[in-house]
């Protein structure tokens, strides 16, 4: 077993364990922090894939912004720190069954595919992925439309979120 494989297995195991904690921990702030751990594991996975830019963006966007947003939301929607009641709904076993079936099904499908055991060609030494990514994003023959649409999507999300959550007319009806 080579060093790369050992690194991959350690990271994958860590990520899956953290992911499992995300979906089972009772305390929601802990769940959000476990999510950070899992996402960090995914960032390391990107590093093993030589996707430097994705790895850093993963940390900047997920850990720097999305995790913070989750923690803020958890604190905005709870009136005390204790978690009362069960965290799982009564059909949780059905969910578990479906998840196992999904994994089994995906595994079965992947196993029948000939590209499964493919190994990567060695990474080109002087290949500047970010520069290539830049030209792919903005060149007219590349992905310029998704690039601009992403901007529109995010602005739409901002406008929608601001409107939904904080419309003054939509205030607290219990008052």
């Amino acid at each position: 077993m080579t060093g790369e494989q050992i690194v991959f297995l350690v990271v994958a195991f860590f990520t899956l364990a953290a992911g499992f904690m995300v979906v089972t921990t009772r305390n929601l702030v802990h769940a959000a922090l476990w999510l950070v751990a899992a996402l960090f594991g995914v960032a390391v996975t990107y590093v093993t894939l030589h996707a430097n830019f994705l790895a850093v963006v993963q940390v900047v966007v997920y850990i720097g912004a999305i995790a913070i947003l989750f923690i803020f939301a958890v604190m905005l929607t709870r009136r005390d720190m204790r978690d009362q009641g069960p965290q799982m709904n009564k059909n949780w076993w059905l969910g578990a069954l479906l998840a196992v079936l999904t994994f089994g099904g995906l595994y079965f499908l992947l196993q029948g595919w000939e590209g499964m055991t493919k190994t990567a060609t060695s990474y080109p030494v002087s290949f500047d992925a970010i520069s290539e990514l830049g030209s792919a994003l903005v060149s007219p023959v590349g992905y310029v439309l998704p690039f601009e649409v992403a901007s529109v999507l995010l602005v739409a999300a901002l406008v929608g979120a601001v409107y939904v959550a904080f419309n003054p007319r939509n205030g607290d009806t219990r008052k």
Binding site: L76, G142, A150, L153, L154
Partner: protein, 102 residues
């Protein structure tokens, strides 16, 4: 060298864990946490296919970045909805949010 299958199986496992979270948690915020895991599993696949295909074609990375934007938009709107419901109904338990309009 790590074969492609390892990444795909890893991503499938992460996706299944996320799906379990989505299907079985009661708290709406926790459901969104599960969705994040699923989106990340998708992104691992995209990055792995980029690396194991022709590295010079940036399609995989471009799509992964678009998925980042989608994930951000999803979290922003999803959590805004949860907060809105909480302000109106004082609950974030998904089972109890059963009215179409309030």
């Amino acid at each position: 060298m790590v074969p492609l299958s390892w990444y795909l199986v890893f991503a499938a496992a992460l996706f299944s864990i996320g799906m379990f979270g989505v299907l079985s948690r009661r708290n709406a915020v926790a459901i969104l946490l599960g969705i994040e895991l699923m989106l990340n599993a998708v992104n691992i696949n995209l990055a792995a296919f980029w690396r194991y295909g022709d590295v010079r074609l940036m399609t995989g990375q471009v799509f992964a970045i678009i998925v980042f934007a989608v994930a951000a938009a999803e979290v922003a709107v999803g959590l805004a909805l949860v907060i809105s419901v909480y302000r109106n109904r004082h609950t974030v338990v998904a089972d109890e949010i059963d009215m179409l309009k309030w």
